[in-house]
Symmetry: C2
């Protein structure tokens, strides 16, 4: 994907897992929620409506794939999917495992409280396990 | 779609616009934000991961169609797309036109403030215009 560059805020708040056919898959570095981010590797993309017809279908399948991995690993009460972009314009899709006991339930995670980075060992362990199931 | 029934909370908070191939398209009755809701007409569906491969693609295309209509009508700063379901379990996808001047910017709309129903004439006018562009 010539020219694809990740927005600095996505780079700093999340860690690389792998590249899927359309999206770069990343783990949000927030120990409060099991939280994946999918970033379509298309330079300049901001809106769902700007995806090609083909990419529109692939994105939805990759959301399901990410959600399926989280569901298998964490058995959440609910998956949350969101593409907002009010702050970081580069298109990215959040896929989050939610629990009735989590820090934001039943509200959305965005704009709630403060991100809590994983301890290094925990982040490494989680990335390894996610890649085993999703890579 | 045998057996499809709308959750009472979706029924009371939004109004019917039309049925697309997969989703029922509804207008959220909240004058603070131009806000569409897509409800896949599949009984018992709660999660993105439960959609068939075919429906997964159709849903994404219908999100783009809804977003395109809002963008054309309102020229928003950003579209927001979200499938949460922490409160209403029936799968539904929000597609919302956002502005830097709106009541929740740059945060998400969910869980922010109180829904403000449209005046009847305004709701009717908006539904007519949305159907003209999206029907």
């Amino acid at each position: 994907m010539a020219g694809f560059r990740l927005a600095p805020r996505l780079e700093s708040d999340s860690v690389f897992l792998t590249d899927w056919p359309l999206c770069q898959l990343r783990l949000m570095d927030d120990a409060r929620f099991p939280w994946l981010i999918l970033v379509p590797r298309r330079e300049g993309l901001e809106e769902w409506t700007e995806l090609s017809a083909q990419d529109t279908g692939i994105l939805s399948a990759e959301i399901a794939r990410a959600g399926g991995g989280l569901a298998q690993m964490f058995n959440p009460r609910k998956l949350n999917v969101g593409a907002l972009g009010n702050i970081v314009r580069q298109m990215h899709v959040h896929v989050i495992a939610r629990f009735e006991t989590d820090a934001g339930w039943p509200g959305p995670v965005w704009g709630q409280g403060t991100r809590t980075a994983y301890a290094d060992a925990e982040r490494d362990r989680l990335c390894t396990e996610l890649l085993r199931r999703l890579g």
